[in-house]
């Protein structure tokens, strides 16, 4: 609250007066020493008043305190008495702390955050409250694209333009981010000075981002097919440089989406040879078998994936159905 130049002038004046006072006292000239000290006191008072916040309870008592502060014993005692309430005064009301503060009025009156996909969908479809539906669309931001995009598209039919615009903006934001990432990776791959490992990594990332464009629902129909081809090209380019199980798994996913189950099967076999866990491969093998209508294989393939149940709890009912464990 105090301009720096003003404060510096006060401090300089104060130090000068006190130094001169001390020098006078040292040389045995009591009168000038006392006069200089008296001159320093108003400067100290001005400095203290301006540096202390207006809300400090001891502010009013500063002047008398400083006037008598030079007295032996009584001065020190008075100083302590004045400063003590300020030190003891809590910043917040007694008992309050960071953890138990309530929500502000706006938040308390606002609808509670919507927790999961089904809840968000229900609110969007059935709630009459515009605030709740807006909150539901906002809640989608925290969900991955593959879960959020279908609901965002559902929100396009909302009766409120605000909801529709918000949903559209979120969709655009997600798509732009993905496409910007693709551009960045393409530029990086175009660089000539890359080690094979680095180039393979970038190609794998590019394949993954292309896959996300389709998997998230941003590229559909003819564009989707074209993007899938790009994903496969980049993944194969990565594999040609450095053997990688994850690139082979991605190629299997792409092939499945392209309705080429035999190719997908071959990529999954290669992924297994590269050391990819059965927990990852077995459900995909089962999916390929299902696509090939070899239903008798599905159960046994899934049974090879004990860890799938742990890693993907939502697969459990499916696993139980195909492995016959739900018969009991």
């Amino acid at each position: 609250m105090l301009a720096r130049s003003e404060r510096d002038a006060l401090v300089a004046g104060l130090l000068l007066c006190e130094a001169a006072s001390l020098a006078s006292a040292w040389s045995g000239r009591g009168g000038p020493a006392l006069a200089l000290h008296a001159l320093a006191l108003p400067l100290a008072l001005a400095l203290a008043r301006r540096c202390c916040p207006a809300s400090w309870p001891g502010r009013a008592a500063l002047a008398p305190t400083l006037l008598v502060a030079t007295l032996p014993a009584a001065g020190a005692l008075l100083l302590v008495l004045v400063l003590l309430p300020a030190w003891r005064r809590p910043r917040l009301a007694p008992g309050s702390n960071v953890l138990d503060v309530g929500a502000p009025r706006e938040i308390e009156s606002a609808p509670a955050p919507v927790a999961d996909v089904r809840g968000i969908r229900d609110v969007l479809v059935s709630s009459c409250s515009l605030a709740e539906r807006l909150e539901a669309v906002l809640a989608l931001r925290r969900l991955p694209a593959r879960a959020a995009v279908p609901i965002l598209r559902l929100a396009f039919a909302d009766r409120s333009e605000d909801v529709r615009l918000l949903a559209f903006a979120d969709l655009e934001r997600r798509e732009s981010k993905l496409r910007a990432r693709v551009q960045e990776l393409r530029a990086a791959v175009a660089s000539a000075e890359l080690t094979p490992y680095r180039r393979a990594h970038l190609q794998r990332c590019l394949a993954q981002e292309h896959w996300e464009l389709v998997h998230g629902g941003f590229a559909q129909g003819a564009v989707g097919l074209r993007v899938l081809e790009s994903a496969a090209e980049h993944a194969e380019a990565s594999l040609a440089l450095v053997p990688s199980g994850s690139a082979a798994v991605l190629l299997a996913r792409v092939a499945l989406r392209q309705n080429r189950p035999q190719t997908a099967w071959r990529w999954l076999e290669q992924a297994e040879r590269s050391g990819v866990s059965p927990a990852v491969c077995a459900p995909l093998f089962a999916e390929v078998a299902y696509a090939q209508r070899r239903f008798s294989l599905v159960g046994s393939l899934l049974a090879r994936a004990p860890l799938a149940r742990v890693r993907r709890p939502r697969l459990s009912p499916l696993l139980d159905f195909w492995t016959g464990r739900d018969a009991s």
């Binding site: 609250m1 333009e161 605000d162 615009l165 918000l166 903006a169 732009s176 564009v223």
Partner: protein, 519 residues
């Protein structure tokens, strides 16, 4: 120097940005040469605005620009004492704004009315609140601290403090601008927001009428912007839930500030003009008094577009055009997809995108890639800025895929050029295509309306028109009849001439706020 009849208050539009609102402003000034205009432009960052995109008409006698990025610059911290009376009025004003102008008992309402007048009249004036008080006054700090504890404890104090500074500092800047803006006989803001706030200040200080025209609804647009703003989420907190809750508090502060500014502007302006009934209803929801609102529809120069009609070739060109800036709100991607749908049935169809992308080159790149991805590289042409009078004769259909619109001029221009339209069901597009009143609807349908972001529906509607010459001609006839009867420039200019005449007749009164203070 002649005192301008009308001072136009413009935020982020004319003359630096192309678009519907800017074209309308240019048309208004050029169409009323008997009136002198001055322009006060308010923008965010200097760097976002280059050269003027429109030549200023001869009846513009003054033009000045201000940028809100300067709001917090050039202040050295120094101790100031905040005067008690304006601070108390400011607190009352904030109470009024928090109550959102509703449900107030009579007495407090009177006090609030006085507080609103007092704060607006005295901001940055001797005896009133100034930016130094707000930035460096201990009493202002105490108020901010108290408000944070009362209302916004879920956000960090630092975030809350700086949010309040960024919200309020431009208002003080606008108050200083209001002191320097040259005299005018009336003020006309083309939005609420910052330009509208400047208008509210001028209305009180100069005692001149304030006219408000809204093409879109500013408060709604800011609400959408803020709801998608990622910069509001504090980076320091770890949990996503905590971040979201803290962002919600800050977002609410910003939204409330724009709502408040909107209500202050609605309270100061008369008349409050919108383009169509939907937006008028929205203005009422946002706090505009119904007796102050009125509708003046857009109008276009029928003679100019008559030339485009005369230049039309025989037959129906297999060209579908989109006229608009290449920005996400126009949803150019859906246009491209719709051309893809259309191309499956009409292999010779071509899509023209007429408009620039100065606001989003990245988005244009995405659109080009999408066109390539769909195998439409040859069919989609990005023409950039063009004189639409030269473009319309080559179009068989205009398609508007926007996700938000007011009353799009390009639709009216296409009608006058004899081009039927397929548009998304946003803004007043349905009214324009299908007609508003019974006698208007009796003219027939000037095209088709489809849900937004639905390429199949838009493409299907376009296909139905392009492949059925009889229906296409009926739509063309309805379009021409509708635009000639209801949307001529003369009607619009006459309506605004009347508005200005009323305003100028009511003008030159002593400033209302000064009278209140004298009393």
């Amino acid at each position: 120097m002649r005192v301008p009849d009308v001072c136009l208050l413009l935020e982020g539009t004319y003359p630096f940005v192309r678009g519907g609102v800017s074209s309308w402003v240019h048309q208004l000034i050029s169409g009323l040469p008997e009136l002198g205009f001055s322009l006060v432009f308010v923008g965010g960052r200097r760097a976002d605005y280059g050269e003027a995109k429109y030549p200023l008409p001869h009846n513009v006698v003054h033009h000045e620009s201000h940028f809100l990025e300067d709001a917090l610059h050039g202040y050295e911290p120094r101790p100031v004492r905040v005067p008690a009376a304006p601070l108390a009025d400011s607190e009352l004003l904030h109470e009024y704004l928090r109550a959102r102008g509703r449900g107030a008992p009579a007495d407090p309402l009177a006090a609030w009315e006085r507080a609103v007048d007092s704060v607006l009249a005295q901001l940055e004036r001797p005896g009133g609140l100034g930016v130094q008080h707000f930035l460096f006054g201990a009493e202002a700090w105490d108020v901010i601290e108290r408000r944070h504890l009362e209302e916004s404890r879920l956000s960090s104090f630092v975030d809350y403090f700086w949010t309040l500074r960024f919200i309020h500092a431009p208002l003080f800047q606008l108050a200083r601008i209001a002191e320097r803006v040259p005299e005018a006989r009336s003020y006309h803001s083309v939005s609420t927001g910052y330009a509208g706030f400047l208008g509210a200040l001028l209305e009180r200080r100069r005692g001149r009428p304030l006219i408000l025209s809204e093409h879109g609804i500013y408060t709604k647009e800011r609400r959408i912007d803020l709801n998608q703003a990622e910069w509001l989420e504090p980076k320091a907190l770890l949990g996503a839930g905590e971040r979201a809750r803290a962002a919600a508090v800050l977002r609410e502060l910003w939204i409330r500030s724009f709502e408040s500014i909107g209500r202050l502007v609605y309270r100061s302006a008369r008349p409050i003009i919108s383009l169509y009934e939907g937006n008028r209803a929205r203005q009422h929801e946002e706090g505009a008094s119904p007796e102050r609102t009125r509708i003046i529809v857009n109008g276009i120069d029928l003679t100019r577009f008559g030339r485009a009609l005369a230049a039309r070739p025989p037959g129906i060109p297999r060209v579908v055009g989109l006229v608009g800036r290449i920005v996400p709100i126009k949803d150019i991607k859906t246009f491209i997809r719709a051309i893809g749908v259309l191309a499956q049935e009409l292999p010779d169809v071509v899509g023209w995108i007429v408009g620039g992308s100065e606001e989003g080159a990245g988005y244009e790149q995405e659109c080009r890639e999408l066109a390539l991805g769909l195998g439409l590289g040859e069919r989609i042409e990005f023409l950039g800025h063009r004189d639409v009078v030269e473009v319309f004769p080559g179009l068989g259909l205009l398609m508007l895929t926007s996700i938000s619109e007011g009353q799009p001029l390009c639709l009216l221009e296409a009608f006058a050029s004899g081009v039927p339209c397929v548009a998304t069901d946003v803004g007043s597009c349905r009214d324009l295509i299908e007609g508003q009143w019974p006698e208007d609807r009796a003219l027939g349908c000037a095209g088709a309306v489809a849900p937004f972001a639905d390429a199949e529906a838009l493409g299907g509607a376009a296909l139905a028109l392009l492949s059925n010459p009889a229906q296409w001609r009926a739509c063309q006839a309805a379009a021409l009849a509708r635009v000639q009867r209801y949307y001529g420039e003369r009607r619009m200019l006459d309506a605004y001439r009347d508005v200005y005449r009323e305003a100028l007749a009511a003008g030159w009164a002593a400033p209302a706020a000064e009278l209140a203070w004298q009393a």
